[in-house]
């Protein structure tokens, strides 16, 4: 049997949810940097979001479990630090899913554009850090609900 097409592998990886924010996939998150074959070994290149993110090791396990489940038995995971992960790599589809889920997607301006609950733009920052390294904590002054904002880096 020949090697599976890399486009197929990308599709499989797009089914693997982020362990902390399961509404988006690892591909949506932009941390899968490359998929390729080296002879009969599949090499998946992954970049961390934050250097100390505790989800990194879970993510590697999830990738491995998913691909083994699809019959890939020779697999190598490569860590790539540079270029450093940026929220620019978050997919459009991922950004939309985040907002529906209640997390304001990253904005170049450095803060959320509108409340993911009611859509109002009268917002205030509560803390630069939130429930995971990738999020900050904001509140809507219109509906008074707090919400997570996906930090722009």
């Amino acid at each position: 049997m020949g090697n599976v097409a890399t486009s197929q592998v990308w599709e499989w990886l797009d089914q693997v949810p982020d362990p902390e924010i399961p509404v988006i996939s690892l591909v949506d998150l932009g941390i899968i940097r490359d998929v390729g074959w080296q002879e009969d070994t599949l090499v998946v290149t992954v970049t961390p979001t934050y250097s100390g993110c505790p989800a990194t090791s879970i993510i590697n396990m999830d990738i491995e479990a998913a691909l083994r489940g699809h019959g890939i038995d020779k697999l190598e995971l490569k860590r790539q630090l540079s270029p450093a992960w940026t929220t620019d790599w978050l997919s459009e589809k991922g950004a939309q899913k985040l907002e529906v889920y209640g997390i304001a997607p990253p904005q170049a301006a450095g803060g959320p554009s509108r409340c993911p609950h009611c859509g109002d733009n009268d917002l205030e920052k509560i803390s630069q850090f939130g429930s995971t390294p990738c999020k900050a904590h904001w509140r809507c002054k219109s509906c008074l609900e707090p919400f997570d904002y996906f930090k722009c880096i």
């Binding site: 250097s51 100390g52 505790p54 630090l81 540079s82 803390s127 630069q128 850090f129």
Partner: protein, 253 residues
Amino acid sequence: MELNDALERFLLRMGDNTLILGHRVSEWCGHAPVLEEDIALANTALDMIGQTQLWLGLACEVQDKGKSADDLAFLRDAWDFRNLLLCELPNGDFGRTMMRQFLFDAWQSVYLPRLSKSSNERVAAIAEKANKEATYHVERSGETVVGLGDGTEESHKRMQQALDYLWPYVGEIFDTDQADDVLAEAGVAVHPSTLKDEYFELINRVLVDATLTVPEDTFAHHGGRTGARHTEHLGHLLTQMQWLQRVYPGASW
């Protein structure tokens, strides 16, 4: 001095700084004045421990003695650590913790962009990654220093006391030795002394905004980055940080 030896020393310094300060900041977990600050401090600590894994991981590769970053973190004694004295000082109150963080973040935010242009591409990649986190940290710690310094009479007094206490530990940041000369020559890391102007410009701007008085005394304590003389606080920190590996050697999960 050989380039490899200089590189190893540099990597230990970088990794020990973030390890020791990261551990210090993690001591706040569950104790900060409000929940948001607790979470923010824990996240900052986490970033620094992540950076530690990268720096000390590379140090192990350069050493080539079969050690892991965990071995370096948990199985060395006080005299083997190469962190700045600033990083090991006790937390004190929340104000002192944030002032210490700001003085450190400001240094990282000036140093890391230069290191991301290192001739050593592994060093450059770690610095590029860490710089994104440091940029975020300095924004937060700087704003907090201004908020508390230019806050109430009580918070202002405490921030001034924090600055006065920490000031003699700032000078060590710019100390240099032969390893720094070798690395600067090879384009691996800029000379720490070249960071002075930008660093002081940055912190002076924030401290003026915070209505704090920058001490005039230029006396500086030394001995952390050379390992010659740590403060008495480091040993106490290590008893907490390393106890599990000391009691159950080789324990893992």
